[in-house]
Amino acid sequence: MNEIENVTNSNAVAKLPLLAAVVALIGLSDAIYLTIHHLNGEMVPCNVTGGCETVLTSSYAEIGGIPLAAFGAVAYFIAFSLAILAAFGNRKMWLFFGMQVTLMTLASSYFVYLQLFVIKAICQYCMLSAGVCLTLFIIAVISKFWKSR
């Protein structure tokens, strides 16, 4: 009886974890692109619409020689995995997902602060990543209300 209830409930929330998994894939692709960009040392001209190069070549772009984007890629992959497991009924993983995206959103907020007030340049790829984090966080928050209804 308990099991049936669990399955019914998990089906009800499965759409949100599935959506979260798709969104996390966007973040993963973005982070992989930025990691390759960093490791290849690819040169992109500076232009008037953004300061991507300023951000990507700043001292904040890597930690201990490892590109920041690589940490992002790992974080998005973990978020994706947790969301997929949750989408297939493992509700505990959705709790971990909530905790993970909260931490990611906090980290993202700090990176946006660095871009706006310290580096004083905006990288659109980094802002996309921040947007993805925020979206994942919003999905996690919405799911709380969804379940409680």
């Binding site: 894939l25 993963l28 992989i32 692109y33 990691t35 390759i36 960009h37 490791l39 290849n40 690819e42 040169m43 992109v44 001209p45 500076c46 232009n47 008037v48 953004g50 300061g51 190069e53 300023t54 070549t57 001292s59 890629a73 992959f77 994706f80 995995s81 997929i84 497991l85 989408a87 297939f88 009924g89 493992n90 310290v118 580096i119 004083k120 340049a121």
Partner: protein
């Protein structure tokens, strides 16, 4: 039964995504850059430079003889990290090709996104008034990280001027003077006529290099080769460039 299937599927999906991420990432890392087909030759850009473009600042900062076979005109912003990355490559190009190439440097600070770009351009021009343009140009590019994030980069520019042995008072006055400003503006007007909207922008004998900055040397060498082949039948040409071309083609 259904439960077993359900527990296997998410793990399989996660595994597929992990393999795809490692595979795609590794492939781009080993083969080249995202967005460019490895081994694809760079298309020759169309000549978009208008004949009536303003001449730019006077005097023109250039290295190499005025009758060099190939002139590379660079529009750069001292605060642009990519311009700083290209700086040693331009020096290498000049060292490798010698007098067959002439390098022209134009100021094109992206004032909308770089706080100190315009001041840095003025600093280089002010040093130029004391005969140390190229020394200051090198100083600004190699120390870009230090002054870019400084709350007042102008203080650092004055320190560089001192290091280069310039009259610092004159340098500081010149930096904010009209002569230097007019020169920077003249270069920028030429850049706008060339439709420059990003830095560094290179023009090889007036043909834009475009976004393929890695191709600079290859494109310059291709242009030299093309000109040398075109000049080959004119064996009685008395220009230094044609002589060099003939000497090379006889090897």
């Amino acid at each position: 039964m259904e439960n077993t299937n359900k527990s296997g599927l998410p793990v399989a999906i996660i595994g597929v995504v992990l393999l795809a991420a490692i595979g795609i990432g590794g492939w781009f890392l080993l083969k080249g850059k995202p967005g460019s087909e490895p081994g694809t030759p760079t298309p020759t850009p169309k000549n978009t430079v208008p004949a009536n473009a303003p001449p730019g600042g006077n005097p023109t900062w250039s290295l190499g003889p005025s009758n060099a076979a190939v002139t590379v005109e660079e529009f750069a912003d001292f605060q642009c990290p990519t311009c700083a990355q290209m700086h040693p490559k331009v020096k290498e190009l000049r060292a490798a090709l010698g007098d067959r190439v002439r390098i022209v440097f134009r100021q094109f600070p992206l004032t909308q996104v770089h706080q100190w770009g315009y001041d840095a351009a003025c600093a280089a021009e002010a040093a130029g008034l004391q005969g140390k343009f190229w020394e200051m140009q090198n100083m600004l590019f190699t120390n870009q990280q230090s002054w870019s994030n400084s709350p007042d980069a102008r203080k650092l520019f004055a320190e560089y001027a001192k290091t280069l042995g310039l009259d610092v008072n004159k340098f500081s006055d010149d930096m904010i003077g009209l002569q230097v400003k007019n020169k920077v503006d003249a270069d920028m007007q030429r850049g706008r006529a060339f439709n420059v909207n990003s830095t560094p922008s290179f023009y090889i004998n007036n043909k834009p290099l475009g976004q393929n900055l890695d191709q600079l040397r290859a494109m310059v060498e291709a242009e030299l080769k093309k000109l040398e082949e075109a000049n080959q039948p004119q064996s009685n040409s008395n220009t230094a460039n044609a002589n060099t071309a003939n000497a090379n083609s006889n090897k």
